[in-house]
């Protein structure tokens, strides 16, 4: 039995789950935070989504079928939680998810938790113009240098579809940056 399997068993066992979950949070909090932060942009929102993600992971660990790695499974939960968060907030405000993100990007210059330069802000603004799912695909491929197979596993989309989405996203960003 490999280490990950043993760790998952420890998470499912009521006698060891407390300690195992502490280790899980400690090991994965930063990686998941940055995935979420790239989607929701704002630190406070990322903080909310990160906490919800771990609560969901805890509540659903007994249903985890081990069809993928633990991290892939958590990454999927984090992505879904981020999208749900954007949909919920944008609905409350009566705007689209894309508009919600664009508003957040426009506040980056005054955001105390953003220290990027003008070029980075320009790139984020261009990315914010993409449809939500295309934006997530672009982030995974461009920033995280993730393989299409891995993205496909997380987003449960075909590799061909992902390649097409990334290609369209890249072209749109190029056009916006050249304007």
């Amino acid at each position: 039995m490999n280490t990950e399997n043993q760790f998952i068993n420890a998470l499912k066992n009521p006698d060891t789950q407390d300690l195992a979950f502490r280790k899980l949070v400690s090991d994965y909090k930063e990686r998941l935070y940055w995935q979420i932060r790239k989607i929701v942009i704002n630190h406070d929102d990322a903080d909310d989504v990160l906490q919800n993600t771990f609560v969901k992971v805890f509540e659903n660990i007994k249903k985890f079928k081990r069809n993928s790695s633990m991290y892939t499974w958590m990454y999927r939960i984090a992505t879904n939680e981020s999208l749900n968060f954007i949909n919920k907030k944008s609905k409350q405000m009566g705007i689209s998810g894309e508009k919600f993100i664009l508003d957040k990007i426009n506040l980056l210059e005054t955001d105390p938790y953003f220290e990027g330069d003008i070029i980075e802000i320009k790139l984020h603004k261009a990315i914010a113009n993409l449809p939500l799912k295309q934006r997530i695909i672009f982030n995974m491929r461009y920033f995280d240098k993730m393989k299409y197979e891995k993205i496909s596993e997380i987003l449960q989309t075909s590799v061909g579809g992902l390649k097409a989405s990334y290609h369209h996203a890249k072209n749109k960003i190029k056009t916006i940056l050249n304007e």
Partner: protein, 156 residues
Amino acid sequence: MNDLLKKTPFKVPKKYFELFEKMFLRKIGLIRNNDGFITPVNYFNTVETEILSKVNYSSFDNSLRNYVLSFSAIVATIAILIFFEENKLKKLELEEFFLDQYLSNNSAYEIADDFDSNILSYDLVIDSYNSISPEDIFEIKIFSENPYNLNIHENE
């Protein structure tokens, strides 16, 4: 030498030296490339405590308890089914036993009489023992004794 340096035609991009350190550290992996995003100081230590306080371990225990209860209910149902099946078998055994008793304790003429009157059946055999209490039936079965093989009649 100094004059030579002053006259150099080479230039660097604007803010090159300000950005160099950041870019270089990112390149060698000492700074995670978060594309300008940062977090409040000590955030990752405090968030861990917050997450752990939100997790309700008792809810996990409750769900486990529910599984145990469901499992117990299934086991109880199976036990009841087995009990009824066994009882059915015992009833059959009892019927066979009564039939044996009937055949061994009645003469051929008596049995022939019963056949003539078309009333021979398990029910008849069992009915004929209805007057005996259940305790006696089991006693008979255990000790293979009945009012006939106790030779009560002979002694009389």
